[in-house]
Amino acid sequence: MNYIEDVATLARKDLRLELRARDTLPAMLLFVLSTFVVFHFALPQGSGEAAAQGLLWVALVFTALLGLARSWAPEREGGVFDGLVLAPCDRSAIWLGKAAAVLVFLVAIEVVALPAFALFFEPLDGAAVAGVALANLGICAVGTLLAAMAAASRTRELILPLLFLPLAIPLVVGGVGSAISPEPGRYLLFLALYDAVFAIICWASFEYVVTE
Amino acid sequence: MSSGEKYLAAAYGVIFVVLLLWVVIIAAKLTRLEREVGELAERARERRDGD
């Protein structure tokens, strides 16, 4: 039970920080909407549904990257990593708390972005939304751990996209596939598998990312 | 040489060149190491003659 409490405490801290500082959410929202507008002009007329779906996923991945780059900023600015590492809670709770907070931010953004996409480009069916939901889990699980790695490096956020994008390729494949494929079941299953596998490896290895 | 043979030669040539590159890099490291060992040997001799 304590584990869940720790995760909740840490996640609530991040939500409170964001409500107070209000620097990540507005930036992510404006970013995804302006990206859609740019896509509109970049997308030649009549290029079909597959292209539109692909652009949705490009926008989602890079918006998530924007949020992930800021995810450990409070810890880094206050030098709080040592404080969390010293706390008696399990180190993976630090990761899970942060991942949960990032998930809340991502979903908050998508609640606006997906309807906007349907308005601007193509309507989204149930499978597409399910694909986005499943991919969110993978993005937050892997992204949060990689962001912690990036926080420990000299180049800070610069290296996060390099670390994250190769690992995000399977998510994009699963997401786009679930939207445009006649039988999306395989793609949704693949996304669920990705989430399970990478959640476990993140949960097990996060301790080694924050401790020496 | 037919186009097929050209590509065959190109492929094995690329393998050979990359391995050669690797050997060159290792050779450069060896010469650097050799120079550093020389410096250290020199310093050790000075210390031994000194005290």
């Binding site: 304590n2 409490e5 720790d6 405490t9 840490l10 801290k13 409170r16 920080l17 107070r20 500082a21 409070p74 600015e77 206050g78 030098g79 709080v80 040592d82 404080g83 969390l84 590492v85 010293l86 706390a87 008696p88 809670c89 401790t211 020496e212 | -």
Partner: protein, 196 residues
């Protein structure tokens, strides 16, 4: 409480600590001195369990829940208020009667009036006092304090003296400082680190 033999710490090319021996019995008060760059901070981080030694032996008896640490950085969230910071760590350390203890500590360090202000608005001295509250929050058995008097004004330093005096004897201290005379009455042992 802490036993170190031939302790060594290297960060790649740089060797920061070499051949450090240290004994800190329960209730002891060990003062570590040495010029800048002599590895005081690294030694304290090792003894707090924040880093692993590269060589030698190090035994730390209390587990991390019973260790209080004060580092150069405040280990505080700048956008949270004093109360929120202490409440967060109070929950993580499962401090009994958390609210009362936070209130008492804030009062003892003269921060009660600023309890709802964000740490970002704090002066360095007030942030240092709050960091001290955080280190003492869970009433740890072992306190590892890295130059606790930095940035404290007269009043703050006096408050810290009183706090250290009241706990010395039944709590164990490992304190790095540039001004050992101030702690002379409480000191049970000294360790001087040379510029390695």
């Amino acid at each position: 409480m802490i036993r170190a033999r031939g302790l060594e710490k290297r960060y790649g090319r740089k060797r920061v600590l070499r051949g450090v021996d240290l004994d800190l019995a329960p209730g002891g008060f060990l003062v570590v001195t040495g010029p800048n760059g002599s590895g005081k901070t690294t030694l304290l981080r090792l003894c707090a369990g924040l880093a692993l030694p590269s060589g030698g032996a190090l035994e730390i008896v209390p587990d991390r829940a019973r260790v209080g640490f004060l580092g150069h950085e405040g280990l505080l969230y700048r956008d949270l208020t004093a109360l929120e910071n202490l409440d967060l760590f109070g929950r993580l350390y499962r401090v009994p009667e958390r609210r009362e203890r936070i209130g008492m500590l804030l009062g003892r360090f003269g921060l009660w009036d600023a309890r709802n202000e964000r740490v970002a608005a704090f002066s360095r001295g007030m942030a240092q006092r709050l960091a001290l509250c955080r280190a003492f929050l869970h009433d740890p058995d072992l306190l590892v304090l890295d130059e606790p008097f930095t940035a404290l004004d007269g009043e703050g330093a006096a408050l810290l003296d009183r706090e250290l005096a009241s706990l010395a004897g039944d709590r164990t201290f490992l304190v790095a400082t540039h001004d050992p005379h101030r702690l002379a009455p409480l000191t049970s042992g000294r360790l001087a680190l040379g510029a390695s």
